[in-house]
């Protein structure tokens, strides 16, 4: 009977499931955050206006070329293949034996970075040109304009897309089992080896994945609401007449009538 197996497996192996879920969550959280930061940096670099200085323009072209290669390569190849190439490649070519956890976070980060770079670029393009001009007009350079005016708006606007990336990451960290990162899929596989049943452990794993993704989406919605701030604002009470001129008062009365 399936149900008895179901509960028996939970009873016996819940610490393994929990550890797996923890590793999955850890890798996807850190990977998404680092990936988003990579994306923001690349998006900012890619929107630097061309300089008049020939030398600077040359450097910018080279940097942009490298960034384009990065984005295209990591968007254009599967993460499961990247994991193999990076993990075993660094071992064979450079003799670096990466910590598995570090390797997992590294791969998820640069993969997410490649995707968010494009999301950020779209977000920057969608910010009104007037915001850039106003920032320039009060003397901000490109870096300050981006840091204090544009990127805060971009972050708010791309948050739903970043949330999407986060959910995808929670699910896609399962491919890291090919380099034996002990995330949820890897743990579940080990359990199937112990109990010689496949359906029940993976059914449990799928429920855990679903709980994680649903929770994350809800939390992100809350963060979005928090960032939007209150819908109303307080008018600071004060001496109205100090600032009102007769024409203002007339205006207000006119509007009500």
């Amino acid at each position: 009977m399936t149900w008895s197996w179901f509960f028996k497996i939970i009873e016996e192996y819940w610490p393994m499931f929990l550890r797996g879920a923890g590793v999955t969550l850890l890798i996807s959280i850190i990977g998404t955050v680092i990936g988003a930061i990579i994306g923001l940096i690349i998006g900012t670099i890619r929107t630097i206006p061309p300089s008049d200085n020939g030398f600077k323009r040359f450097w910018l072209k080279i940097v942009n070329f490298i960034l384009t290669v990065y984005v295209e390569v990591f968007r254009g190849t599967p993460m499961i293949v990247q994991s193999m190439v990076i993990y075993y490649g660094s071992l064979m070519l450079f003799n670096i034996n990466m910590d598995k956890m570090f390797a997992g976070i590294f791969i998820v980060s640069i993969n997410t970075g490649a995707y968010t770079a494009e999301i950020v670029r779209g977000g920057i393009i969608s910010v009104d040109k007037g915001q850039f001009e106003a920032a320039h007009a009060i003397g901000m350079n490109h870096a300050k304009t981006m840091l204090y005016v544009v990127l805060p708006q971009v972050v708010r606007n791309i948050l739903p897309a970043i949330g999407n990336e986060f959910v995808i990451n929670i699910k896609d960290t399962s491919v890291l089992n090919v380099i034996s990162v002990t995330e949820l899929y890897y743990q579940t596989s080990s359990i199937t080896g112990n109990v010689f049943r496949f359906f029940e452990p993976f059914l449990i794993a799928s429920v855990i994945y679903l709980i994680m993704t649903l929770t994350v989406t809800r939390i992100l919605r809350l963060i979005e609401k928090k960032m939007d701030g209150p819908e109303n604002f307080n008018v600071i009470p004060g001496n109205q007449m100090q600032v009102a001129r007769p024409d203002h008062v007339a205006n207000k009365i006119g509007k009500r009538g």
Binding site: Y148, N234, V235, V243
Partner: protein, 243 residues
């Protein structure tokens, strides 16, 4: 009086089109200069060239005796000396009213938060928006946004305040509140350069009116001269059309 900005032989192309042709004019300290003319005559482009939002193709812009079109000149520092008020307000959407007025002071002029807030409150009072410091730009009416934008520009304590058609995007009933703030500022001795379609404002407030037509300054003089005794035929025709 001392010249603050002197524009010499300024020219600007957009592709093949020559938008500004050999523009020469000066703004003196304490002066209110209004630039009028029909759409497409290059008024806004001239203003945007002066604070380098558009890069001029030729000529000089002399600011306190230095040509700021020299490559060595620090563009960003120069821009802090020129306030700019836009047609579309362009308040920073991610900040509330007070932060809009302090962010430039803190991040560009390196003032402390307390000092910046004090300065901002002073100018928010001037424009009558000191009660709305917690509001976000999207919670304000057009006229209120424009008044905050004026306070933001003033908070940088610029030498010249430039207005690019500040009332053109406003509902008619809100034009008055913005114009009356501008009028007060003009009386207080602030140097102002105003591109406007409000002929009443220009004739009342301006010390000098510049009429532009097809990328050149067609006529320049006191409001009295321009509005009552225009010398040029095209000035006369423009005024006939608009008044």
């Amino acid at each position: 009086m001392e010249d603050i900005i002197e524009v010499q032989h300024l020219s600007k192309f957009f592709g093949e089109n020559e938008i500004l042709k050999d523009i020469n004019f000066t703004v003196k300290k304490g002066e209110v200069v209004c630039i009028i003319g029909s759409s497409g005559s290059g008024k806004s482009t001239l203003l945007r060239c002066i604070n380098l939002l558009e890069k001029p193709n030729g000529g000089k812009i002399i600011y306190h005796g230095k040509n700021i079109l020299d490559n060595k000149h620090d563009v960003y520092e120069y821009r802090t000396k020129l306030g700019m008020v836009f047609q579309q307000f362009n308040l920073f959407n991610n900040y509330n009213v007070l932060e809009n007025c302090t962010i430039g002071q803190i991040k560009v002029l390196n003032r402390s938060k307390e000092e910046a807030e004090e300065v901002a409150m002073k100018f928010l009072k001037v424009v009558g928006m000191d009660q709305y410091i917690n509001a976000k730009p999207n919670q304000l009416s057009g006229g209120q946004k424009q008044r905050v934008a004026i306070a933001r520009a003033l908070s940088m304590e610029p030498d010249v305040l430039m207005f690019d058609e500040p009332t053109s995007a406003l509902d008619p009933e809100m034009v008055g509140e913005v114009l009356s703030v501008m009028q007060d500022l003009a009386k207080s001795g602030l140097t102002m350069l105003v591109v406007t379609h409000e002929m009443g404002f220009a004739s009342e407030v301006a010390d000098r009116v510049v009429f532009m037509d097809k990328g050149v300054i067609a006529e320049e003089g006191s409001p009295e001269e321009i509005f009552n005794n225009p010398k040029e035929e095209r000035t006369r025709e423009f005024l006939r059309r608009i008044l």
